[in-house]
Symmetry: C2
Subunit: 118 residues, 2 copies
DNA sequence: CGGGATCCGACTTGATACTG
DNA sequence: CAGTATCAAGTCGGATCCCG
């Protein structure tokens, strides 16, 4: 984590628990949101930025590059004028959707729980 | 993360996607590890610290307090000399175990995948 | 349009020492 | 044993400007 995020390959290469490995990939402030947006759609850079309130282009680029390196996201560039770049999940990236949905499911229950506590 | 971790209650109170809510609770560098350790055991402060390589007492305290506030972890103090404090998951905390296991499962597959890519 | 480069502050985290 | 206090270091992320 979470970020806080990317454990480098040089420090202890095997994680204590594999949960860490997953959170290194999908954790952080923006990645879950990006993945959530790409779950059902292919999106361009600008569209992505608009769905993510307040993200700076720098951050968006950085997160997308990391997701790309991890084999989760595919970046397709069309050399037109003006340029167009589309982002989508790779097949491997799609394997994480159920995990995201499990997280979402629990999040919903958790928020309900917090509401009833008020 | 997951931290970079705790989204304050003041900024937009409803998340874009509930995945965020979950990662606010279990994300970050240490929390998944702590939860993983408490999954099957009740542990004392020192035992926890020993299973988490390199965590400082300050960090451990902080993470445990946050988990406690979120209703995930129970802190039980025995006023003995020397003092003894035991940490365990609450019933609500246990509901997150399947989510952790889903994360772990994917993490294992992800690490395999990365190995074969080398 | 889709970024890269640079700068900078705020917040997180770590190391170390100390205490009831 | 189970922390707190203090200080230093690191990281994250935003702002701004620029380019092909």
């Amino acid at each position: 984590m979470i970020t806080q995020n990317k454990t480098t390959d040089t420090d202890n290469c095997n994680y204590i628990c594999p949960v860490e490995a997953t959170l290194d990939v999908i954790g952080g402030k923006w990645k879950p949101l990006i993945l959530w947006q790409l779950k059902d759609d292919i999106l361009r850079f600008n569209s992505l930025q608009q769905t993510l309130p307040g993200i700076s282009p720098k951050m968006l680029t950085k997160q997308l590059r990391e997701l790309e390196e991890d084999g989760i996201v595919k970046r397709e560039m069309y050399p037109e004028i003006p340029p167009r770049v589309e982002y989508s999940l790779t097949d491997f990236g799609r394997t994480i959707i159920p995990v995201l949905e499990a997280l979402a499911q629990w999040g919903i229950e958790y928020m309900d729980q917090k509401d009833t506590m008020k």
